[in-house]
Every structure is written in C-alpha cells, then in structure tokens.
Amino acid sequence: MSIDLSSCKKDFPIFERKVRGGNSLIYLDSGATSQKPNSVIEAESNFYRTVNAAVHRGAHLLAEEASEAYESAREKVAAFIGARSNEVIFSKSATESLNIIAYSFGNPDSRINIKAGDQIVVTEMEHHANLIPWQQLAKRTGAELRWLSVTADGRIDLTNLDQVITKKTKIVAITHQSNVLGSILPVETIVKASRAVGALVVLDACQSAPHFALDVKKLDIDFLAFSGHKTLGPTGIGVLWGKFDLLEKLEPSLFGGSMVDSVTMESATWAATPRKFEAGVPNMAQAVGLSAAIDYLNHIGMHNIAQHEQDLTSYLLKGIVGISGVKVIGPVDMKDRGGVVSFTVEGVHPHDVGQVLDQYGIAVRTGHHCAWPLMRKLNLVGTTRASLYLYNSKSDVDSLLESIEKVKSYFKVSK
C-alpha cells in the first residue's frame, strides 16, 4: 500500500517560493542537502531567542538551560540510531566526523591505532569524505589503502572479499548507501568478513540515516557518521557515533576548551567520552535544530518515509528506463536501493541537462558528486542525479520525466 505524505510539503516554507521561469520549486537534490521544516527553523532560532548561552560553562540559568537542550539533543540522536547517549559525538558535519576518527586512529597514543603495514579497506563508490581521510591516514602511518570494486550494474563486487579484507585489515570504512548509484551496500556480509579478521567497521550513513530506520547494534558496526543538514536539520551539525569502549581507547583529534579534565602549562588530560571529542563551544542551536528534525521524522515515521521513497523511486525508474537515449547509472531494480537515481542523456552533458531542468524549476545535482574515482571507473564525466525525500511526490517525478524529453528536444538529440 502506498503511503500518502502529501500533507508534509506545507511544513517546508521553501516550497512557497518561485524559482526560474516563475515555476514552483521541484526539489530533487535532497542527497546534497534536505529542505527544512518550520519546526526545525523555529527550534534553531528559538534557541537564540530564549536560551542562548555557552553550554557546560556558565553558572547562570541560561547556561543550564542551554546545556540541558544540547544534552537532550544528544539523547534524541542516540535514540534515533539505537545508541547510548554517551556514545554520540556532535561535530560540524559527517566530513568532520570521519576526519575525527581517521585522525584519532592515526595518533600513536590511541590504544587502538593504525600502524605501518596495517590495511584500511574502503570501496570504490565512496564519497570523497569517506575516502580522502583514509588515504591521508594511510599516507601518514604507512598503512595500505585497499578497496572493494564496483560492478558494472552499480553494486559492490564481493567475489574477492576475502582477498581484500585480510588479517592485516584494521578498519573497513564503507558507505551505507551510495550517493551516486543509490545502491545499498551489503553491510551484513562486509561486517561478517571484517569481524572474522578483527577489523573495525565505520559506516558512512549520510544517505541512509535520513531515509530509513537504522540501529547501530543490529548493524553490528563500530562507528557511524551522518550529517544533520541531509536529515532535515540545520547545517553545521554532524554526528559521530562510536562504541563506547572503542571511543575510550581513542585519543581526541581536536584540542581546546571544553574537552579537558585538567590542564597545566606542559600537558592536559581529557574529559570523559564523548566530551573529549567536542573541543570548543559546540554548534548548540544546530544540535537543537537537529533534535527537532528527528522529532519531525519520528512523527512521520521512518518506515513511512522509507516506503514513500521506495514507491517514488520505483515509479521514477519505471518511467526513466523507457526514455530512449537515457541511461540509469546504478541498479534499475528496487532490490537494496534507495531514492537516489543517477542518469545520463546521450549527447548532452550533465551540466547542460541540469541547466534545462532548472528552467522548469527542477533542482537536480550534476557532475561527479564528490565521487571522482567512481566516475573514472564507470568511464563517465559525470551524471545528472535526482534524489528523493519525503516531500516529493509522483507529480515531481512526472515533471522530471517530461522535462528530460524537453532536454532532448532542446539539444536536438534524435532517437
């Protein structure tokens, strides 16, 4: 049964504006960043209006209330991913979250760390944010970076899993859902292979946490990162989750105020986990905004959101495969795939496709999607990507499909 989420759209004020050509906005770029409901915008600005103060610092009422709001946000995020709140670290973004762990693993003082000769495994479909921090960690430590390949149909090639993940592998860092192909990775299989050799698993949940319910315990992973701004929340807030005993063994990678236990002129000791990973006055209003975003998502229900996106994606795929000269880059069946659909239009560069779609009010992403190695592997200069969320509807998809035809006629692509 399909889910009717059409009443959600009115909660997002951006849809009231007009865009190029006087058109209504058809926003198909939630994979880059999501739009924000009023409740999030209000929660963030109300923080500034009513309780603004530096958390964990002042002796005054506002500081108490701000700390309370910030720590409740942490609890909210923890419940959202099935974690304990002392395992949730606030960062500025998923990118920062991934860099924090990569740096912490590179610190020889960490009780679990990466050394020369160790192996780090990623996949060929990683976003640069879950690739370059590991490249750099390998470079700093003398470890070896290896990767699982992608198959022609946009899945992870598991045929050589036991050659890629070996006894020397210490970290396996993978995306949960590809931001280019939409494919959902076989986390269970990869976790099993990692566990078998004692490697830790880092999951980039940027494209999954906003779209379907997940539970870090059920996934049996060790670290997870996602961004608030793709989850209906504000920019400037990201999440890093790690198993408590592992976080305890890691040294922080950002240093300064708020993360210390005691400081002398020569040295310092750290506050308890997770605070030791949150140096400086944190992005408080943004954490509170993210908390409101999670309330909103829970109110709609993650299962309903997932079902809605599955229905729309399936509808989009059915329509797009029928357009001649258009090729879907990624799985065309609904098995283990989410609402990110990349495609190419023969004879028209993605940037030009996006430009014509923009003329009809359709916002898509074009280019390499911060996954340059994947583009190279697939022999593409880029793709056009439509990514769906709870506020999208079948009529958005219809507009996209009609406008792709207009792209073809504008650039006089015969067929």
């Binding site: 050509g21 940037h351 030009d352 430009q355 014509v356 074009t366 280019g367 200069v381 880029g382 504008y410």
Partner: protein
C-alpha cells in the same frame, strides 16, 4: 525563454562540431586545466612565433559552454599577437563578469559575444572561462 540567451545557436554549433579540437603533434607548450567542481577538463597545445600565436589545438571533455567557448576562442586567437590576445581575453573576462549588463564588443570578440548570456548564470561562468584560462596560462609561460 531565458535558456535561449544562454544557449545561442553559435554555441550549440561549436559544441556539436568544435574547431581546432584534436591535439597537434608539435607544440611549444601543453597545459591541462580542469574545473574540480564539475569535472570539465581541457588540454591545450600552443605554438607561438615572434610573439604571435601560430597554432592552438585542444582536447577536452565538458559541457556545451566550456567546449564551445574553447572552440570559439581558438578561432579567435590563432594569428593574434600576445598583446592582442590578452586584450581579447580581458574583454571576454569582463563580459563574463557583467551579470547580463553587457552585450560584448563584437569588433573585438566576434563570435564570442554569443557567450554574453552566460554572465547571467553564475554557475556557468567558470565553464565559459575554462579554455581561456588555459590559454592565459600557456601563453604567459611561452612569453616568459
């Protein structure tokens, strides 16, 4: 339609059949420029004699704007002296920065005035300038 001011017929023609495309065997210098935000790339071979552009060939992948702009530029700059070429280039850059306020000086820019509409689309200005920046880099190295 607003789009027509961006995609002038001249631009689409050059995109479909680009001029001077395909790298020559001989060159004084080769440069490679890319646009990391969209992945467009241009490789440019340049030969100059006595401060005059004698040969300019290129290859690349990219959108209609970046490819057509490089093509039009090649037509325009072959046979020009360095100073002249820089003057044309400065004129083109100015046109790109005009936010739709200028139609361009046809006596200097010839077919390149077709790109005037690009200046209304901030995201595309970098596309239009890709080949030109490659030329600027290459020619200033030769002139050094």
């Amino acid at each position: 339609m607003e789009l027509d001011s961006l995609y002038q017929e001249v631009i689409l023609d050059h995109y479909r059949s680009p001029h001077h495309k395909g790298l020559s065997a001989n060159k004084d210098i080769q440069v490679h420029h890319n646009n990391p935000s969209c992945g467009d790339e241009v490789t440019l071979n340049l030969s100059m004699k006595g401060g005059v552009v004698t040969d300019l060939t290129w290859d690349g992948v990219g959108c209609s704007i970046s490819m057509a702009s490089t093509s039009v530029m090649s037509d325009l700059l072959v046979g020009k002296g360095y100073k002249d070429a820089m003057n044309i280039l400065d004129n083109f850059v100015e046109l790109m920065q005009s936010k739709g306020q200028s139609v361009g000086d046809e006596s200097i820019l010839e077919d390149a005035v077709a790109f005037a509409g690009v200046s209304k689309f901030p995201a595309r200005i970098k596309c239009a300038l890709l080949g030109w920046m490659a030329f600027k880099d290459a020619s200033s190295q030769v002139m050094q």
